[in-house]
């Protein structure tokens, strides 16, 4: 079955503010697609709409033929869409291991009674799960840090751990909100490699919100550009780069940023 995400004329209104307006785009299975736009363009809001944090005022969102609006975020994760957050949201009191383990809860075949009875099946299941978590941590070079508190990790590692945790839900579509934010150039290089690696290894579609054009242009196959909540361009990195509307939006935004800072 094709795990295709379709947004069809999606709009969300916060009071008088139209944060996203009449937005339509598609993400095909296995595709690596970028979502860019100036600050406040509505990128994070699009992620929140897809993952059920917000319900659109109008329009349709469907994944795999299932209409998403009305589903709770945890249900949408079960349907196969997982995400990271612009401001890292790890579970601060949990270890690296437990952060990833918590994302495996949704795969547990048994509920609470199983944990209470603690029979052989429970222990087998926990052991199997432990090795799954460790395998995943190993792939991303975090196995040695499994016991450390996630707060003790470097910023880059925290971002990586958040991606690992999202992958642990076994998504078909992964949404990454500014994964390179706050990273230095070397870390960004590594991140680009990592994203390509994930796409190949796990065979999933990825949508990436990112301000760093080098990262976006370097890895995305297709890019959707937002400005003031509306789509102003869509195409390959080359097409988008040359698009006059995109150039104007970014220049305009820059002027605004400068003006805002001066005020």
């Amino acid at each position: 079955m094709s795990a295709k995400l379709e947004l069809d004329n999606v709009t969300i209104q916060f009071g008088g503010l139209k944060a996203v307006g009449d937005l339509s785009f598609t993400i095909n299975p296995g595709e690596l697609i970028g979502l860019i736009g100036p600050n406040g363009a509505g990128k994070t809001t699009v992620f929140n709409l897809i993952t059920g944090v917000y319900v659109p005022t109008a329009g349709r969102i469907s994944f795999n033929g299932i209409s998403l609006p009305g589903h709770k975020p945890h249900q949408i994760t079960r349907i196969g869409i997982s995400r990271t957050f612009q401001n890292i949201r790890l579970f601060p009191s949990l270890s690296v291991f437990d952060n990833v383990r918590s994302a495996f809860i949704m795969h547990l075949p048994h509920g609470i009674a199983h944990a209470l009875v603690r029979g052989r099946a429970f222990h087998d299941e926990e052991r199997e799960l432990e090795s799954d978590v460790l395998d995943l941590l190993d792939i991303f070079g975090l196995k040695d840090a499994q016991h450390t508190s996630c707060n003790a990790l470097s910023y880059g590692d925290q971002r990586r751990l958040e991606i690992v945790r999202a992958l642990a839900t076994k998504p078909k579509l992964l949404l990454l909100d500014e994964p390179a934010a706050g990273m230095n150039p070397t870390e960004k290089e590594e991140l680009m490699k990592l994203i390509r690696f994930i796409k190949g290894k796990f065979n999933i579609a990825i949508m990436l919100v990112e301000h760093d054009m080098k990262v976006v242009m370097g890895i995305c196959e297709r890019i959707v550009v937002l400005n003031y909540g509306e789509k102003i361009a869509e195409g390959t990195p080359q097409e988008v780069q040359k698009n006059p509307d995109v150039i104007a939006a970014y220049l305009g935004a820059d002027h605004e940023v400068v003006g805002g800072a001066a005020a």
Partner: protein, 321 residues
């Protein structure tokens, strides 16, 4: 060890029964304090599941205790003779009757927990504190205003409740509470409670049904508070609405904070400490709250993580090859 938890429970139950059988040798005053300690341990460990592990702020534990106390007492007062007859008399019949009464009390408390929790736990933010506080007061006021001749006994409460509570029941229930809370939390399934406490939005995004977790924690917490209420009623033989006022809820919250939110051993230690302290301060009743407040302030400054923080007890996973 694989069956560590079950072995703990078995030993704790057997030990409770053993001590209970020779309780006649224990000094009455000392036994009184011990039973108080056991009941408070049950209250604190169960509230810790809600306030500590799941990060919700409930302020109405005494309300659920009241529901359990009245529920269990009404069963033994109204149906006790009946039940004893059905079970054929003797100590087994007494035990079965008391067990039924306790479970009815716990069940009523769990049901009221579900009714209070369901609407308020769907909301984000601190609604739960206000709703539970209100619930505690409503229960107290409603009980106070029932008819004095009715099954609830009005402001004077209920008298002549059979003294079924003994060492075995108190510490058996405490052991079961500790077993349920720790086994549940220390499992992959149980990481969900901690995830909800740490970040509800992230937990949802990881496929955790946060509302269900909060409701499970809250209803289970209410259930065990109800059991503690039933034990208390059949220990004191008289109960009145005033015994379950807001200050009683605060006592339990103080135990949880003092012990370290989310640390079962810490909360047990705090429950023991504060119960004993309460006993010492019995002659200075009016200063009790001042002392508690001072302890809390000092704790917040010196050891904000609590007496025995949870991290101390987190199982280090053995390095796997």
């Amino acid at each position: 060890m694989k069956y560590k938890a079950q072995i703990f429970l078995f030993i704790a139950l057997a030990a409770s029964l053993g001590v209970s059988l020779c309780a006649g040798n224990i000094d009455d005053y000392f036994l009184d304090i011990l039973l108080n300690v056991g009941i408070n341990v049950t209250l604190a460990v169960s509230l810790n599941l809600v306030n500590g592990h799941t990060g919700q702020f409930s302020l109405g534990h005494a309300g659920f205790m009241a529901v359990g106390a009245y529920g269990a007492s009404i069963v033994t007062l109204q149906l006790g003779d009946h039940l004893l007859q059905i079970f054929g008399g003797g100590s087994i019949a007494t035990a079965l009757t008391f067990l039924i009464a306790l479970l009815v009390g716990g069940g009523c408390a769990a049901l009221s927990g579900w009714m209070v929790g369901m609407p308020s736990l769907r909301l984000k933010g601190d609604y739960l504190a206000i709703v539970t506080l209100g619930f505690n007061e409503i229960i107290r006021v409603v009980l106070t205003n029932t008819s004095g001749d009715g099954p609830f006994g009005g402001a004077l409460g209920l008298k002549g409740i059979a003294s079924y509570t003994n060492f075995f029941w108190v510490f058996g229930v405490a052991a079961v509470t500790i077993y349920v809370v720790s086994t549940m939390v220390n499992s992959t399934y149980g990481r969900g409670f901690l995830a909800v406490r740490d970040d509800e939005i992230a937990a949802e995004a990881m496929g955790v049904n946060t509302v269900r977790y909060k409701v499970i924690a809250f209803v289970l917490g209410a259930f065990f508070a109800g059991l503690a209420g039933g034990l208390y009623a059949h220990f004191r033989s008289t109960i009145s609405p005033e015994g379950f006022n807001f200050l009683k809820s605060v006592d339990v919250v103080v135990m949880v904070i003092l012990g370290g939110m989310g640390s079962t051993p810490g909360v047990i230690a705090a429950a023991i400490l504060l119960t004993v302290l309460n006993e010492w301060l019995r002659d200075f009743e009016q200063y009790r709250m001042i002392v508690f407040a001072l302890i809390l302030i000092v704790m917040m400054i010196v050891r904000p993580q609590g007496l025995l923080p949870a991290s101390l007890f987190q199982r280090k996973k053995k390095e796997s090859a």
